[in-house]
């Protein structure tokens, strides 16, 4: 009964936050509401005893991805009028995509999970993290490694596509800076002392 209450509380917050993401006028508020939505979703996953996925969601999306998102959104020159200009023009297309998503999700849930009972409670020593690790590194090791390589390639590609070497940009070579000896920079000149003229 208590867990049902928690489930509905989290779901309400999640849905409200998700609605806020698309209705908030300020993009920064949208991004922060998305953070709230991720965090609440991870709370729901914890309730399903999927603690590894829940914590990974917070770690990856809340802790890293959304920080960079905010980083970009905050630096935008936000023109609210311009942002809302094309609302009616994009509404049919957006509505179509949205309806399609709802349809797909609905069919999937209805066909796959309609009438399924709750799974029996897990034994006391069960560790979701351990089970997940075992599956990923034994049964699904090739798909997992291939996915990792694809991601790595994507990162390298993104960097090499956006990296431009400007001719006039100044840079330092730390290795050469460290190599510098005192004799390269300082020259001690010995001079005879002179008498001050009155």
């Amino acid at each position: 009964m208590f867990s049902t209450f928690i489930f509905y509380a989290f779901s309400t917050v999640l849905i409200a936050a998700a609605l806020g993401v698309i209705t908030a006028r300020n993009p920064v508020h949208s991004a922060l509401l998305l953070v709230l939505a991720f965090f609440t979703a991870s709370g729901l996953w914890i309730q399903l005893q999927a603690e590894f996925l829940a914590i990974a969601l917070v770690l990856v999306y809340v802790g890293a991805v959304m920080v960079l998102f905010l980083f970009v959104v905050m630096m935008l020159d936000i023109n609210l009028a311009q942002l809302r200009e094309g609302f009616w023009r994009y509404l049919p297309l957006g509505g179509l995509v949205g309806a399609l998503l709802v349809l797909e999700m609905g069919t999937l849930l209805w066909l796959r999970f309609a009438g399924t009972e709750m799974p029996p409670p897990l034994p006391a020593g069960y560790s979701n993290t351990k089970e997940l690790g075992r599956l990923i590194y034994t049964e699904y090791v090739y798909p997992f490694e291939i996915a990792a390589v694809i991601l790595l390639v994507a990162i390298v590609a993104a960097i090499s596509l956006t990296l431009r070497h400007r001719k006039n940009s100044k840079s330092q070579n730390p290795a050469r800076q460290v190599e510098v000896k005192r004799a390269d920079r300082v020259r001690i000149v010995s001079m005879p002392s002179e008498k001050r003229e009155e």
Binding site: L32, E51, G63
Partner: protein
């Protein structure tokens, strides 16, 4: 010793039974266990947070004193010979007016210190102070700590943006890039810890470092590069000198909290020092054997583990933090980025490979 505490314990048990009976009478037998559990958890939280606040207050005094001595000064010595200085500071900050800038986003401006404070406190839930002294002994403790501490950056970013000030915003941008960069090296260092301990559970990580040789069984020996990187990345994550470009008084006034005053500023200040204690505690737990004694277990008197050892280790790491601040000049921003991405991350990746190979050989003697 235990004879003295026995009446106290008995009285505690009696009070607890009384509370249980009262709650059953108030809420009925169905809800009472939940309420009792909530009360128990709240009491334990108070038991962790209250000493933490006192430690934090006296850490500020310790820092000022130690830096004073290092610079041949006295440090605070007026209010109660210096001992009441943190309390005087607290009262001063409480009495000051909280000024909200005209162009600021009021809600986010007030939310930012809360967002800085929340992760600094929430991470303590899984910290083991002794073999049984832990609020929540969860399996994925290490991951939880990483996830929660990675949220600390929101306080800084939201503060920088909501203040509607250029200096604050510059500080926030610097801080965001820096924290995200050093989190990667920190995460890799923790991968090393979980490889060596074969567990994500913080209690098991400490127990994995117990053995007959005392300090020689701790993970800082096989994981020495990770120990150093974790320590340095910890300094960077908490925005402490020499990585304090987010504040950088000489460049951007006070960085992200330049518009904050009074209690809102004090909360940022609290969060920074509590994060400092947190990083020092995690460092002690993962690399310096937590509550374990540095001497072999067979030695009399000093061979036993206990909370006092954890306290001593945390104190040692905190002194290092203060020492760094008193000694090093501030890093230039591009050097910070270079250190994080081009030095730390390659070192951690190489050492993970070395560790993986090492653990397959008989030379690995840290197995439990």
């Amino acid at each position: 010793m235990s004879a003295i505490f026995q009446p106290v314990l008995n009285f505690g048990t009696f009070l607890w039974g009384l509370l249980g009976a009262f709650l059953v009478g108030l809420l009925g037998p169905d809800l009472a266990p939940y309420a009792l559990y909530a009360v128990k958890t709240l009491l334990l939280i108070v038991c962790i947070v209250a000493p933490l606040m006192i430690c934090m207050a006296y850490l500020t005094l310790l820092e000022r004193k130690v830096i004073g001595w290092m610079q041949v000064r006295q440090g605070p010595n007026r209010v109660g010979y210096g001992w009441l200085q943190p309390i005087a500071d607290g009262i001063k900050l409480l009495m000051k007016e909280v000024i909200i800038p005209a162009g600021a986003n009021k809600f986010l401006f007030v939310l930012a210190p809360v967002m800085a404070m929340m992760p600094a406190l929430a991470a303590w839930a899984v910290i083991p102070f002794g073999p049984e002294m832990v609020l929540a002994n969860i399996d994925a403790g290490l991951l939880y700590v990483m996830a929660i501490t990675s949220m600390g950056v929101y306080g800084v970013i939201i503060a920088g943006w909501a203040s509607n000030s250029k200096y604050a915003f510059l500080g926030a941008l610097r801080s965001a890039a820096q924290i995200v960069s050093y989190e990667i090296a920190m995460g890799f260092a923790l991968v090393g810890v979980l490889m060596a301990a074969q567990s994500l559970n913080l209690v098991e990580i400490v127990q994995g470092q117990s053995g007959t040789y005392g300090a020689l069984n701790w993970f800082f020996i096989p994981l020495f590069p990770f120990f150093l990187i974790y320590l340095i990345a910890g300094v960077a994550e908490t925005n402490r000198a020499p990585f304090d470009v987010a504040e950088g008084e000489s460049e951007i006034v006070a960085g992200f909290h330049v518009e904050y005053s009074g209690m809102t500023f004090a909360v940022f200040f609290l969060a920074e020092y509590i994060s400092m204690i947190l990083v020092a505690t995690l460092c002690s737990i993962m690399f310096l054997g937590g509550w374990l004694s540095p001497f072999p277990a067979s030695w009399p008197l000093v061979g036993f583990g206990g909370f006092h050892w954890l306290f001593a280790k945390v104190f040692f790491v905190l002194i290092l933090f203060i020492w760094f601040r008193a000694t090093f000049p501030r890093y230039r921003y591009d050097q910070i980025m270079r250190l994080g991405w081009k030095v730390f991350i390659p070192i951690t990746i190489v050492w993970i490979l070395v560790l993986g190979a090492w653990m397959q050989t008989p030379l690995w003697v840290w197995w439990k």
